[in-house]
């Protein structure tokens, strides 16, 4: 009898906690979408019902913001950063795992230590470097320091452990060179690893803020993240417009998450496997 009550109470507690956490996690998304349909005043006053200002907000957003250019900037930076990061990181992950030597193991461990370097300690020298190279206000300057990532190398190395060595041996017998084995055997076989890494690196680049904030100074080069930030920090921010911006900026990552949930989670977990 008491057992039954205890079980009911524990179920109530369990589902109560889960329900509350799920609600709190999802609510800001709901509020964001509703906010895009409301006037700035209503948003600040806490209205949580759909309103009639969606088209007004959208119109205002597209007149205040050169949206095609801003999204093109974001996409360009994110795609360039992702492709380059995946290229050099998978090469290195493969290299560290397949061609082992004591020196390279030491170097690998030293490389992993760079994970602990905080970006704040890099930004001043990087800013001066980019200034000297005449790259301030260019997208190259945003992308360059993000390509060499110990984290992504680590991920690729972990995944390369599952790459069947028979494939390499067979390719060798067929007389393929090392770079051919990598390009024509490894890359196609590991495509799900690439997909997972692509999602995570792309999202990081798309959402990157501090470094672009420092480097990109003119409106023509700014990304959507920078634009949302400056819209929201205006003296009297128009929250309706801000909400339209956040919805548009979040949609791509949200869509990727829902369509590729498995790879998304796999990419995030890459490091503990």
């Amino acid at each position: 009898m008491t057992n039954g009550i205890g079980r009911a109470a524990s179920a109530l507690l369990t589902y109560g906690l889960l329900g509350l956490m799920a609600f709190l996690s999802v609510f800001p998304f709901l509020w964001m979408v509703l906010g895009a349909t409301n006037s700035s005043i209503d948003i600040i006053k806490g209205r949580v019902l759909p309103g009639e200002f969606l088209s007004t907000n959208v119109d205002k957003f597209f007149t205040q913001v050169n949206a095609p250019l801003v999204f093109w900037n974001s996409a360009k930076i994110a795609i360039l950063a992702t492709v380059l990061t995946l290229a050099v990181s998978s090469l290195a992950g493969y290299g560290f795992e397949i061609f082992r030597s004591r020196h390279r193991e030491r170097l690998y461990r030293a490389m992993l230590l760079t994970l602990m370097i905080p970006f704040a300690a890099l930004m001043i020298p990087l800013f001066i470097m980019m200034g000297k190279a005449g790259l301030i206000n260019t997208h190259i300057a945003v992308v360059l320091p993000t390509i060499g990532s110990a984290f992504v190398v680590f991920y690729f190395r972990q995944c390369t452990k599952a790459f069947p060595s028979e494939l390499r041996d067979a390719a060798k017998v067929d007389g393929l060179k090392e770079w051919q084995i990598f390009l024509f055997i490894y890359v196609p076989v590991m495509r799900s690893t690439y997909a997972a890494a692509f999602i995570i690196v792309f999202m990081t680049a798309w959402n990157n803020y501090l470094w672009p904030l420092i480097v990109l100074q003119s409106n023509e080069t700014k990304t959507i993240t920078l634009v949302i930030s400056s819209l929201a920090s205006a003296y009297y921010p128009d929250y309706g417009v801000v909400m339209v911006g956040t919805v548009l900026a979040t949609l791509p990552t949200l869509a990727v998450f829902f369509f590729m949930q498995r790879q998304f989670v796999q990419g995030m977990l890459g490091s503990v496997k």
Binding site: F96, S101, A121, A150, E178, T225, S233, T250, F257
Partner: protein, 299 residues
């Protein structure tokens, strides 16, 4: 003959190995190692803009006499000490609940709790700034529920502003940590739990005596990641407080202070570099301490 030995450890001079890893090592060398060493050099220099001269330990002395730095350091450590444990315990509890296959709709709960991870730090900070406005949705809900009688000044009171930052980070990162724990829990044989349950071990004891010890490596990993992240906190505070770390520096973090020293005030690269090395030292010390503590408990 040489080819027959391929695949074994100990080939020191294989050119291919070096060619494959060279691009990344070059990039990390140029954009991480070189700047971090330069930053150290800079921290011993003083002056405005590019006009710097050697100043010895003057910057380090200046740290102790700089109330804004002390404030930024205290705030950063407060976020770290309060937020990381709350988030990790919450994530562990949620993960161990969701690991139970008898939970109805657990895929849905998992997706919902993970969802905050897809937002950019800027987007969710902006959302939170609106939700926690004086008459915003949070205050009006709390008032309707009868929890508060007057609106909480989330953005204008030093204490509540810090609470808001902690709530915001916890919202964004709890699901992320939970996913790590869930993945690790899947590798634990569920029959251990069944046996413990049949033996009458209560749920809480199963959590502290089975789940936590078995997850220790992952907990350590996520703690180190969270430590590094929290000590570098910037985007959230910048966007919740219009880049000021206000009210009256109550939410200022070390990263934000470095940014202000470099790009908002008259640039003093040397002093800013010194502040940035405080983060480097803190990250290194805390990571070392966490690894050490984990090893001690193993004995």
């Amino acid at each position: 003959m040489v080819h027959a030995r391929r695949g074994s450890i100990g080939r020191y001079y294989d050119v291919n190995g070096w060619l494959f890893v060279a691009p990344v090592l070059g990039l990390i060398g140029l954009f991480m190692i070189y700047p971090i060493v330069w930053s150290l050099w800079m921290s011993f220099q003083s002056g405005r803009g590019m006009m710097m001269k050697f100043a010895g330990f003057a910057n380090i002395v200046r740290l102790w006499n700089d109330p804004v730095f002390i404030k930024a350091l205290t705030n950063t450590m407060t976020y770290f000490v309060v937020q990381v444990p709350i988030m990790i315990v919450l994530a562990l509890i949620l993960a161990s609940i969701l690991n139970n296959p008898r939970i109805v709709g657990r895929g849905l709960f998992r997706t919902a709790i993970f969802l905050p991870c897809v937002t950019s730090l800027v987007a969710y900070s902006v959302l939170f700034k609106g939700m926690f406005a004086p008459d915003g949705v949070v205050n009006s809900t709390l008032a309707t529920l009868g929890v508060i009688s007057s609106p909480i000044p989330w953005l204008t009171h030093p204490f509540w502003a810090k609470v808001l930052v902690i709530i915001a980070i916890t919202w964004r990162w709890t699901g992320y940590n939970m996913i790590f724990y869930l993945a690790a829990l899947q590798n634990i044989d569920r029959s251990i739990y069944e046996v413990a349950r049949i033996d009458g071990v209560p749920a809480w004891a199963r959590f502290t005596h089975i789940t936590i010890p078995l997850l220790k490596p992952v907990i350590l990993f996520t703690t180190v990641i969270s430590t590094i992240g929290t000590l570098q906190l910037f985007d959230e505070v910048y966007n919740l407080t219009e880049g000021r770390g206000g009210p009256s520096n109550a939410t200022l973090t070390l990263s934000l202070y470095i940014y202000n020293l470099t790009f908002r005030f008259m640039p003093n690269f040397g002093y800013a570099a010194t502040v940035s090395y405080v983060i480097v030292v803190l990250v290194a010390l805390l990571a070392f301490f966490q690894f050490f503590a984990a090893r001690e408990r193993d004995k």
